[in-house]
Amino acid sequence: MELTVDQVDAIREVLNMGAGRAAGILNSMIGHPIQLSIPRVDVLHSPAVPPTNEEPTSEIALVRLNFSGRFRGHSSLLFPNQSAANLVTLLTEEDASSPDFFAARASTLTEVGNIVINGVLGTLANLMSQPFEVGLPIYQEGDYQQLTTPDGRAGLVLVAQTDFLVEQLELRGSLRLSFEVASFEAILQALQDMTE
């Protein structure tokens, strides 16, 4: 399924709105001005193939949520290891060499992932008046290839590059929304309805 430029723009717009909401929550939580933006959206036909701007071999940290309802699929937020460590240090002021850092990292990233993904999914649900169920976040660390192919189900993947800009520090993550094909068509339909 090929998306038109307009369709991609529409998706990016919706995702950015969600990111804005998530940024608001993060802001109020940590008391630092933080901006979230999604400058680029790719549509992949296979989750195993990384988008061109992602380094496939690196170690990553990942927060994943399953969702169901009108739309079914799962969503994950990926951070390259270094970005993940920097983000955790920034948010918790926990030093990377401290023995608690690993635990802090898992729970912090889980929460950040939850906030961002909930923000985006919440926005999507509100806009389309299509409530859906969201599961609890799962945190994982490991190899990119392993973590990005959790199951063999075919589907479409929206890969949204997510930039965190905190105190002049640029951190990059990647938000992935995997939809079952039918769900994705429903989204496109909803988007079209919305813009008409």
Binding site: I25, F102, S107, T108, V112, N114, I115, V134
Partner: protein, 810 residues
């Protein structure tokens, strides 16, 4: 508020998770048992309270916003105590705050418009602890992994380097397992054997051996030899893939594992075809060279024999001629002919000697000899020549020198003769001194320095370096003026070098030269025996104090001869002792005429039994003494003096007990085996003069036959004869004597061959002594005297006495 608002929530009491339920106005409508335990606050106390009042922190913006979003969107939220802090602080027994993971989910009661939120607080303290532990383990594993990878990388680099080295080694290299299969090989292995590494791997090492036997032999020894031996390369023939063999040098060493057990065997080998060829060529070249040297040596030996024989004849005949009635003019001619022949012989000897040195190198003897004897002989040989030129020849041996030395007396004498001859040749007038003294006894043990000082023409300094080279004389014109081959110094140089000594010269033109050499002469065994002085005999040494006397007295002490020393003849007379036989040694310092005169006076005045022994360093004086009644000794030699004293004293003893020996004592019977007519005439002539009875054999067989039938006092045996040579004849004579139980008759070899080894050959077959041709009368006389003592002597002084009976068929 009552719990009935939330029917069914009691079920949450059973879970190990803190659970509370709030309404959207933050009123707490459920507080489960787990929370009661954690917070120590009972449900009844809590229910209906406002969460914000109970825990004012929740009112903070960060909590409130998110809780609100839960109520608004219905999406679950996660609160980590790391990021958010604690919604409800719970203190652990240790005082720490519990690590919490809080999940807030919104739900709506069916019968109420109000939204509710269920807040589940999980205790993550243990999870965190486990995570931390897991992380530590993971980090450790990662670190180990990293280290392992580093080690592997290092190993890989080492392997690569090893591979490179193996490639670079030009020798074939082979590692085989215990069961002798090839495990590893290098490219040079391929180059040498023709087998690719792939072909070789796994194959038995038999592959490269030329024969099954070599393979088995190598297998037997490979783990039995000690490590040291293993590194010794050995040569072995190996075989290439195409079947051709090549010689190789192989070194093998067992390889042991860390536990010390052998794990295989490493072989390194190279192709030595080229080296073998060179070696072969060298061996061939050496063989050829040796053959050439042998031929040359053979030639020299032959020449030596061929040349000496006629000269022997010439000189012998001239000696005999001199003893016949001649006019003064004829006598002078003969004398000149004789000395010319002698000079010719000297020259030939030098040339032959040098050739021989060149051809065969030097075989130095190491035997015991008397140092002063050798010095004396050298001086004696040249005293005639010195006397002719009116030169004084003096010798001075330092008393500190060892009397008996160990070395090669013949060669030492040769050097001295060369140096003295040289000095005489180049000294028109004055004197020549031979000085012998030990030097530097501590550093170089037994180093002896010989100096020959002359008052000759000297040598310009710039010519000195060339002196010791062959065929060099200072000026070719000098050789015309002074004669000689110029080989003497070169031969001396070679001899001294062979003795590991040094030779040199210091010289001032027109003043003289000092030729010197230094050699090591270890002390020999001094087996000096005492001389018995018969009762009634008295030994008197007469003369002024001086070096001669010092020496003489020391010798006499050595021989344990008691003696008196007087300075004047008159003192002897005064000392009395009428009844004694007097043996008087007097030196040349008293004029000989005077001495003889005085002795005569003494004899008349005191004692008719007087034996006189005159010691002189001038030959003419000695002759003069001999014409009188005195025995003489010239030059004064320890050995000769001892010999003469022994004889004199024994004679004195005889005189003391018996009458003088009668002259009719039987003559010495000599068997002469000699095939050369000229030599035979010479020897027979001399023997006749010595008063011997001569029986002649012309070959070994005849000699043996005559010996069996007759009885002889001594046999003179030529070595080279037809039919049976002298050596074989001697062997058979000795066998004959043994079979008959007779004592051994002295046999003296007569030979022109003077090559090293001849003397040994003669002594092996049982000969007693050795005379080199041309035979001189005095040498022959000494020889007879030595082996047939007390039977000749007087005859020598009686020229009118008829010659000995000769059965010579010539």
């Amino acid at each position: 508020m009552s719990s009935n608002l939330t029917p069914g929530l009691e079920i949450l009491d059973g879970v190990p998770v803190g659970v509370l339920v709030i309404r959207d106005d933050f009123e707490i409508i459920h507080w489960n048992r787990c929370l009661e335990e954690w917070t120590q606050r009972s449900r009844d106390e809590i229910l209906g309270s406002d969460l914000l009042e109970l825990y004012p922190r929740v009112a903070s913006k960060r909590f409130r916003e998110r809780l609100r979003s839960v109520f608004e969107s219905g999406l679950p939220e996660v609160f980590s105590s790391y990021l958010h802090g604690h919604l409800i602080p719970i203190t652990l027994p240790g005082g720490e705050l519990q690590v919490q993971h809080t999940i807030v989910s919104a739900f709506a009661q069916r019968d109420s418009r109000r939204r509710h939120a269920l807040i589940a607080i999980q205790d993550h303290t243990e999870i965190q602890r486990r995570l931390t532990r897991y992380k530590e383990m993971r980090d450790q594993a990662l670190e180990e992994n990293r280290q392992r990878r580093e080690v592997e990388a290092q190993l890989a680099r080492e392997m690569a380097r090893l591979e490179m080295i193996l490639r670079a080694i030009p020798e074939g290299l082979l590692f085989s397992s215990i069961d002798r299969r090839i495990q590893m090989a290098n490219p040079a292995f391929t180059a040498l054997t023709g087998y690719t590494i792939e072909e070789a791997l796994g194959q038995p090492t038999r592959l490269i051996y030329a024969t099954e036997e070599d393979f088995e032999k190598s297998g037997r020894t490979r783990f039995h030899r000690s490590a040291k031996e293993d590194l010794r390369p050995y040569e072995i023939e190996l075989r290439r893939k195409d079947g051709s063999a090549f010689p190789s040098e192989l070194v093998g060493t067992p390889v042991h594992g860390p536990d010390g057990k052998p794990i295989g065997y490493l072989k390194v080998f190279r192709d030595i075809t080229e080296r073998k060829e060179i070696e072969q060529a060298r061996i061939l070249a050496i063989q050829e060279a040796e053959a050439a040297v042998n031929a040359k040596s053979q030639f020299v030996a032959t020449m030596s024999h061929e040349i000496r024989t006629p000269i022997n004849g010439v000189m012998g005949m001239l000696s005999l001629l001199l003893d016949t009635q001649l006019s003064p003019e004829q006598r002078e001619y003969v004398r000149i002919s004789h000395s010319s022949a002698e000079l010719l012989l000297t020259l030939l000897n030098q040339i032959l000697d040098f050739s021989r040195l060149e051809a065969t190198g030097l075989d130095l003897e190491e035997i015991e000899f008397e140092l002063d004897g050798v010095v004396a002989e050298a001086c004696e040989i040249l005293s005639g020549l010195a006397g002719q030129k009116g030169l004084v020849l003096q010798e001075d041996i330092d008393p500190r020198c060892e009397r008996m030395a160990l070395g090669d007396p013949g060669r030492l004498r040769q050097i001295l003769v060369n140096l003295l001859g040289n000095a005489i040749k180049f000294t028109p007038s004055g004197k020549i001194e031979l000085i012998v003294r030990p030097i530097d006894r501590d550093g170089h043990q037994h180093r002896v320095r010989f100096e020959v000082r002359d008052t000759g023409i000297g040598i310009p300094p710039e010519r000195i370096p060339e002196l010791f080279q062959a065929f060099t004389q200072v000026d070719s014109s000098t050789s015309r003026r002074f004669g000689g081959t110029g080989l003497g110094l070169a031969i001396s140089h070679q001899l001294v070098t062979a003795m590991e000594g040094q030779i040199g010269v210091e010289s001032t033109p027109d003043e003289g030269s000092t030729f010197w050499f230094e050699v090591d002469l270890p002390a020999g065994l001094d087996s000096e025996t005492a001389i018995e002085v018969p009762a009634g005999c008295r030994v008197i040494v007469l003369g002024q104090d001086g070096s001669h006397h010092e020496r003489l007295e020391r010798w006499l002490s050595d021989w344990e001869i008691p003696f008196d020393h007087f300075e004047e003849w008159s003192e002897v007379a005064r000392s009395g002792g009428d009844d004694q036989r007097l043996v008087i040694l007097f030196s040349h310092e008293c004029a000989p005429e005077d001495g003889v005169c005085q002795a005569e006076l003494l004899r008349q005045a005191v004692n008719p039994d007087l034996t006189l022994l005159a010691m002189t360093s001038v030959n003419e004086d000695a002759h003069h003494c001999q014409e009188t009644d005195a025995e003489s000794i010239f030059p004064i030699r320890r050995a000769r003096l001892k010999e003469q004293l022994t004889e004199l004293l024994s004679k004195a003893s005889t005189l003391a007990s018996e009458a003088r020996p009668s002259d009719d004592r039987s003559e010495v019977r000599v068997l002469v085996a000699e095939d050369n007519v000229v030599n035979l005439k010479v020897v027979s002539g001399f023997l006749g003069k010595l008063g011997c009875e001569i029986v002649v054999a012309q070959n070994g067989l005849e000699a043996l036959d005559l010996f069996r039938r007759g009885s002889f006092d001594i046999v003179l045996m030529d070595c080279m004869m037809p039919e049976m040579d002298g050596l074989e004849a001697t062997r058979q004579i000795r066998a004959f004597e043994k079979s008959k139980g007779r004592r051994a008759t002295p046999i003296v070899a007569l030979t022109a061959k003077a090559m090293p080894g001849d003397r040994e050959a003669c002594s092996v077959v049982g000969m007693n002594d050795y005379l080199t041709k041309p035979v001189r009368k005095d040498e022959l006389s000494q020889m007879i005297h030595r082996w047939v003592p007390g039977r000749t002597g007087r005859a020598d002084h009686d020229p009118d006495r008829p010659s000995g009976t000769s059965r010579t068929p010539v």
